[in-house]
C-alpha cells in the first residue's frame, strides 16, 4: 500500500475508487438466499436486437405465469419475482447477463435464453450455480451438456423428420427442394431433413439457404425451381421469412406444396407479408395444443389462455402473436414450480431429476396450456416428439386455434 498512500491526493483517489467498486459490487439485488423471501426467476431474453419480436412474446408468457402463480399462492408458499435481462441475442452478452442473474440477483430459477447458441453458452454457469432452468433452445440439448436444464420448444430434428415423412406419405414426393435460414436451428433442421430424405430414398433436387435479416427470397426460390421439386420443405426463422417464401414462390410460378417447420405457423406475420391467402397449399409442423380438427375438439385451456393474453396485453401488442410460443414460456415456470414443490427444494439436481421422473404426471396436475409434455431419460426436450402434429396455419378453427390436418 505504500505506493498508494504516498500522497494525500493519491489516498483520496484510491478511497474513491474503492468506494466506487464497493457500490458497484454491492449494488443490485440483495439476493434471496435459500428458503425465505420471494423466489426469483431470471429471464434472459433478446429483448433488443434481431429477435426482439419473438422476445416480446416470450416476455409476455413469463410475466403472465408470474402473475398467475402469485395469484395461486406462489411456489411452495413463496411469492415469485421475475428479473428480465436483455441478451441482444449475443452469446457473450447472454453469458454476462446470466452471470448477473446468478451472482447479483441471486435467482433461484431461470427461464430462457431463447436460442441454442445462448443456451449452450450459459449452461455451464447455470449448472455450476446449481440453478434449474428451462430454455428456448430447439436443438443440440442432451443430459450431458444440460444436466439441469430442459428445452421447451419443439426439437428441430424431430420437426425435420416429420416434415420429410409427411412429404413422402401425403404427396408421394420423389424430389424435394429444401430451404432454410442459416442459423443454428435452420442448420440442425436441415441436417435432420437430409438424413431422413436418405432414409426414405428421396432426392434433394435443390437446397438453398439465406441469412437473417432477409427481404427477398426470389433468387433462392428460382434456384429451387430449377430442380423441379414435387414438394418444398421450409425451415424458416419466423413468419416474416415464411411470408417472403410464399411471395417468391408465387412470383416465380412455383406452385408445389410446401411443408414447413414450426416457425411457419406464425401466421400473423406471414399473412402480413404475403396476404391472407399465404397458406394455400401449405402444411406446417406444430404443437397439438393450439390446433383442432373442428370446433368440437378445441381445447379450452388454449382459448382461455389466448383470451387472457389479449386481455392483459391489448390487441395491439398481441396482433400476429404466436400464442403457442407465449404459452411455452408461460408453462415453463409452472413446470419449474411443480418441480420445486414436488422435490421440496430449489436444488437443481433434485428439481430436474424429479421433473424427469414425474413431468408427465405433473403436467396433468398443473394448469398447463400445452398438453404434450413427456420426458424420457435420454432427452432434454419437454415435448413429446410423437405429439408433433401437422396443421394448416392459415385457417383458424376459432381465433388463435389453427386447423389440424392429421389424426382427425
Amino acid at each position: 500500500m505504500t505506493i498508494f498512500t504516498r500522497s494525500k491526493r493519491g489516498a483520496a483517489f484510491v478511497t474513491g475508487l474503492v468506494l466506487l467498486g464497493t457500490t458497484a459490487a454491492c449494488g443490485g439485488g440483495s439476493g434471496s438466499g435459500g428458503g425465505s423471501g420471494p423466489i426469483k426467476v431470471g429471464v434472459p431474453l433478446g429483448i433488443t436486437g434481431p429477435a426482439a419480436g419473438t422476445a416480446d412474446w416470450d416476455r409476455m408468457g413469463v410475466e403472465l405465469s408470474v402473475k398467475q402463480i402469485n395469484a395461486d399462492g406462489g411456489i411452495d408458499g413463496r411469492k415469485v419475482k421475475a428479473v428480465f435481462v436483455d441478451t441482444e441475442l449475443d452469446p457473450a452478452k447472454a453469458v454476462t447477463a446470466t452471470n448477473r442473474l446468478i451472482n447479483e440477483e441471486k435467482v433461484d430459477l431461470v427461464v430462457g435464453p431463447m436460442t441454442s447458441d445462448e443456451t449452450l453458452a450459459t449452461l455451464p454457469a447455470l449448472s455450476r450455480a446449481n440453478i434449474p432452468s428451462i430454455n428456448g433452445a430447439g436443438s443440440k440439448l442432451d443430459p450431458k451438456v444440460a444436466p439441469y436444464s430442459f428445452g421447451m420448444l419443439l426439437n428441430a430434428e424431430y420437426q425435420g423428420q416429420k416434415m420429410v415423412d409427411y412429404a413422402v406419405s401425403e404427396y408421394g414426393a420423389k424430389k424435394v427442394a429444401v430451404i432454410s435460414y442459416s442459423g443454428t436451428q435452420g442448420k440442425v433442421g436441415r441436417e435432420a431433413i437430409e438424413k431422413q430424405l436418405k432414409v426414405k430414398g428421396v432426392e434433394e433436387s435443390a437446397g438453398q439457404e439465406y441469412d437473417i435479416p432477409v427481404t427477398d427470397l426470389s433468387s433462392q426460390v428460382l434456384a429451387l425451381k430449377k430442380g423441379n421439386p414435387d414438394v418444398v420443405l421450409a425451415f424458416p426463422q419466423t413468419g416474416n421469412d415464411t411470408g417472403l417464401l410464399v411471395q417468391a414462390m408465387r412470383d416465380a410460378n412455383l406452385d408445389v406444396p410446401v411443408v414447413g417447420s414450426y416457425a411457419t405457423t406464425y401466421a400473423g406475420q406471414a399473412k402480413a407479408v404475403a396476404g391472407p391467402d399465404a397458406y394455400k397449399n401449405f402444411v406446417s409442423v406444430s404443437w397439438p395444443a393450439f390446433s383442432a380438427c373442428s370446433t368440437s375438439d378445441v381445447r379450452t385451456e388454449a382459448t382461455d389462455f389466448i383470451a387472457e393474453v389479449k386481455k392483459t396485453y391489448g390487441e395491439k401488442r398481441t396482433t400476429g402473436a404466436a400464442f403457442d410460443n407465449i404459452a411455452s414460456f408461460r408453462d415453463a415456470l409452472w413446470l419449474l414450480k411443480a418441480g420445486i414443490e414436488g422435490s421440496k427444494s430449489t436444488d437443481a439436481k433434485k428439481v430436474t431429476s424429479w421433473l424427469a421422473k414425474n413431468e408427465t404426471a405433473a403436467a396433468k396436475k398443473q394448469p398447463l396450456v400445452h398438453n404434450a409434455y413427456a420426458l424420457s431419460d435420454d432427452s432434454r426436450f419437454l415435448m413429446d416428439p410423437d405429439s408433433l402434429t401437422l396443421v394448416n396455419a392459415g385457417t383458424e378453427v376459432v381465433p388463435g386455434i389453427i386447423q389440424r390436418i392429421d389424426g382427425c
Partner: protein, 593 residues
C-alpha cells in the same frame, strides 16, 4: 555523438504519466475490488471490460497513431478467440498451445486485413475491414464441421479459474496485467520515434517519404500491433466467457470497439478505458434493469457526452482539469527563433574537397504529362554541391512538379535524375530521402498533436548529420518539447518543417516556397539560415521561391523555369541582365543588386 545530452529519449512522455497511473488504478480497482469482495458477477463483467480495453487500445494505435480506419478489430478478436477455444475445447491442446494458436490465427487475420491498406485508404480501407467483420459469422457457419458452429464451443478452464485467495484466480491476474500492459504499451509507442513516424506516415504519407520513412511498412506494423492487441484480447475473451459461437463476433463488436475509441477520446491513454465504461459497462450493466428504455437512455447519454466533450471523454476531462487548475492551457506564444541556432553556426567555410566539386544532382531532359498537360517538357538542370540553388518561374510553370520529380513524389515519363552520379530515376521517394534528399512543402506538414520537438524529431536520420546544427537544436529540444505545435503561426510551422528536414541530415534539401507567409524579419533570418547551412556544410539547398528579393540575396545559382522547361540558368549576376527572362519578372526591377 555528443549532441544527445538533453534529448535523451524518455520511455514515456511526462504528460502521459498521470493518466497512466490513473488508468492502472482504474483497471486494477475495477477488476480487483469485486474480486476481493467475492462478487463474481462484477469480477467477470470487469474482466470482459478489460478485454475490450485491450482490443480498443490496439484499435486506437491504428486509428490515432497510424490514421488507418478499421472496422475489423472485432473480427481479429473473434478469430483469435474462436481458434483458441477450438484448440483447447475440441482439439484438446494444452492452454498455452491453444493461446499460441489463437494469437497466431488472430495475427494472420489481422495481417490479411492489413494488406489492402497498401492499396486502399480511408473509407475504402474501412470498407475492406468491414467486409471482413461482416463475413466472419457467415464463414464460421459455412465451415460448421470444422468450427462446430451448430453448438458453439464450450471451454472449461478450471485451472486458471481455480481461486488462489478469495476469488482471485490466475485469469483475473492475467487479464488485469495484460490490460495495464496494453495502456503502457500504447503510451510507450506514443512516446517513441517509431510512434511519431507512424503518425507522420498516417497523416501525411508524402511528408513521411521525404524523411525516409516507408508509409506502407509503417501501416503494416501498426496493423500488426493492433492485431496483436486484438488477438491477446481474443484469447482472454475465451478465458472470461468460456464459450464461442457463430453469433459471438458480429460486426456489432467491431463497431462497438471503434465507437469506444472515438467516444473515449482518440489518442488518449484513458480513452479506451473511459470509452468501455460508457459504452459497455453503462448500457450492459448499469442500465440493465431498464429493458425498454435502456437503448434510448444509453444513446441519449452518448449524444450528451459528445455535445459536452466533442473530443471524446478523455480529451474533455483533460480540458476540464486544465480549467479547474487554472493552468494556462499550453497556448503560450513562445516562438521558435532561428537566431540562436544561427549564432551557433561556425563562421569558417568548409574546405572544398575534390568530391565537392562534382555536381550533386543532375536532372536530364525530364518529361511528365498529366493528361494532356505537359507539366514537365524536357527540363534539365545541374545542382552543385554546397550551394543555394533557386528555381524561379511564373505560376504553373512546373517548379513544384520539377521538385516533386527530383524528390520522387511523382514518377517521370522520360528523362533521368542523378544524385551524386547515381541514377535514381526509378528509386522510390523514401529511398531517395534515405540517400540524402530532404524536402519541405508549400503547406507545412506539421502534426498538431505532437509537440514542436516531436515534429522535428520524427524521421529517419542519416549518418552524416550537420554537427553544429544538431548541437544547436539539442539545446532547445527540452523547451520545444513543451510547445504545442497546434498553436504555431504559419511561418513558424515552416521553420519546424525545415528544421525537421535538416535534422534528418540531408545532402540536399529541397524547399517548396519556404518564405511564403513569413514576416520580413523571419525572411531575413531564414535566408541567413539557408546560406549558413550551405556554406558551413556540404548540404545543398534547392529552393523554389516566389520572393525574388530573397532568391537574389541568397542563391548561388538560379534556374528559371517556364512551360515545363528550363529557359535560363546562371548566377544572379548573370541573370540580372538577361533579356530572355526579363518579361517574366516585370515589376520586380527593384531587386537589389
Amino acid at each position: 555523438m555528443s549532441t544527445k545530452h538533453s534529448t535523451r529519449p524518455r520511455l514515456i512522455r511526462r504528460e502521459l504519466r498521470r493518466d497512466l497511473v490513473a488508468g492502472t488504478m482504474l483497471i486494477a480497482a475495477a477488476t480487483l475490488v469485486p474480486t476481493f469482495m467475492g462478487n463474481l458477477f462484477w469480477q467477470q463483467a470487469m474482466l470482459l471490460a478489460a478485454v475490450y480495453v485491450i482490443a480498443a487500445v490496439g484499435l486506437d494505435v491504428l486509428r490515432s497513431q497510424a490514421e488507418q480506419m478499421s472496422f475489423g478489430q472485432g473480427a481479429v478478436l473473434g478469430v483469435a478467440a474462436y481458434v483458441a477455444a477450438l484448440a483447447n475445447g475440441v482439439w484438446e491442446k494444452p492452454l498455452i498451445v491453444a493461446a499460441g494458436l489463437g494469437l497466431a490465427a488472430g495475427m494472420v487475420t489481422g495481417m490479411l486485413m492489413a494488406l489492402p491498406s497498401l492499396r486502399v485508404q480511408s473509407y475504402y480501407l474501412g470498407f475492406v475491414t468491414l467486409a471482413g467483420a461482416l463475413a466472419l459469422p457467415d464463414l464460421i457457419i459455412k465451415f460448421k464441421d470444422q468450427t462446430q458452429a451448430l453448438t458453439g464451443v464450450n471451454v472449461f478452464l478450471d485451472g486458471i479459474n481455480e481461486p488462489l485467495v478469495g476469488s482471485l484466480n490466475w485469469l483475473t491476474i492475467g487479464v488485469t496485467l495484460l490490460a495495464v500492459l496494453a495502456i503502457f504499451g500504447g503510451a510507450v509507442l506514443r512516446s517513441s520515434g517509431f510512434g511519431r513516424a507512424m503518425l507522420l506516415a498516417g497523416e501525411s504519407p508524402e511528408a513521411a517519404v521525404t524523411v525516409g520513412l516507408r508509409p506502407g511498412q509503417l501501416r503494416l506494423q501498426a496493423f500488426a500491433l493492433s492485431s496483436f492487441a486484438a488477438s491477446v484480447a481474443g484469447v482472454c475473451y475465451v478465458g472470461v466467457i468460456q464459450y464461442v459461437g457463430s453469433g459471438s463476433f458480429t460486426l456489432a463488436l467491431s463497431v462497438m470497439l471503434y465507437f469506444v475509441v472515438i467516444v473515449g477520446g482518440p489518442g488518449k491513454v484513458l480513452g479506451p478505458i473511459l470509452g468501455v465504461v460508457l459504452l459497455y459497462i453503462v448500457p450492459d450493466h448499469l442500465l440493465a434493469g431498464l429493458l425498454d428504455y435502456r437503448l434510448l437512455i444509453y444513446g441519449t447519454l452518448v449524444l450528451v457526452v459528445m455535445l459536452v466533450m466533442p473530443e471524446g471523454i478523455a480529451g474533455g476531462l483533460d480540458r476540464l482539469l486544465r480549467k479547474l487548475s487554472k493552468r494556462s492551457d499550453d497556448r503560450s506564444r513562445t516562438l521558435i527563433s532561428l537566431a540562436p541556432i544561427l549564432a551557433a553556426a561556425p563562421r569558417a567555410e568548409v574546405s572544398e574537397s575534390d568530391e565537392a566539386r562534382t555536381p550533386l544532382l543532375v536532372v536530364d531532359d525530364v518529361r511528365r504529362s498529366f493528361g494532356s498537360v505537359k507539366a514537365l517538357d524536357g527540363a534539365s538542370m545541374t545542382v552543385e554541391r554546397g550551394t543555394v540553388h533557386a528555381i524561379v518561374g511564373p505560376n504553373g510553370s512546373g517548379k513544384t512538379t520539377l521538385l516533386n520529380a527530383i524528390s520522387g513524389l511523382i514518377s517521370v515519363d522520360s528523362g533521368t535524375v542523378e544524385l551524386e552520379g547515381r541514377d535514381i530515376t526509378s528509386t522510390s521517394a523514401s529511398a531517395r530521402a534515405r540517400l540524402g534528399l530532404g524536402r519541405t512543402f508549400q503547406q507545412p506538414r506539421v502534426l498538431d498533436s505532437l509537440s514542436v520537438w516531436e515534429n522535428i524529431d520524427c524521421g529517419r536520420r542519416s549518418a552524416h548529420q550537420i554537427e553544429w546544427f544538431e548541437e544547436a537544436i539539442a539545446a532547445y529540444a527540452a523547451e520545444w518539447d513543451t510547445m504545442n505545435s497546434g498553436v504555431l503561426p504559419h511561418g513558424q510551422r515552416r521553420f519546424v518543417e525545415v528544421l525537421r528536414a535538416l535534422h534528418a541530415g540531408p545532402s540536399l534539401v529541397a524547399l517548396d516556397e519556404p518564405a511564403a507567409g513569413l514576416s520580413h524579419g523571419e525572411r531575413l533570418e531564414f535566408g541567413q539560415l539557408l546560406r549558413d547551412v550551405a556554406k558551413t556544410t556540404t548540404v545543398t539547398v534547392l529552393i523554389v521561391e516566389h520572393d525574388l528579393d530573397l532568391v537574389w540575396n541568397i542563391a548561388d545559382t538560379i534556374t528559371v523555369v517556364d512551360g515545363g522547361r528550363v529557359i535560363a540558368s546562371g548566377t544572379p549576376a548573370e541573370l540580372r541582365n538577361s533579356t530572355t527572362i526579363a518579361h517574366l519578372f516585370v515589376g520586380v526591377d527593384h531587386v537589389a543588386g
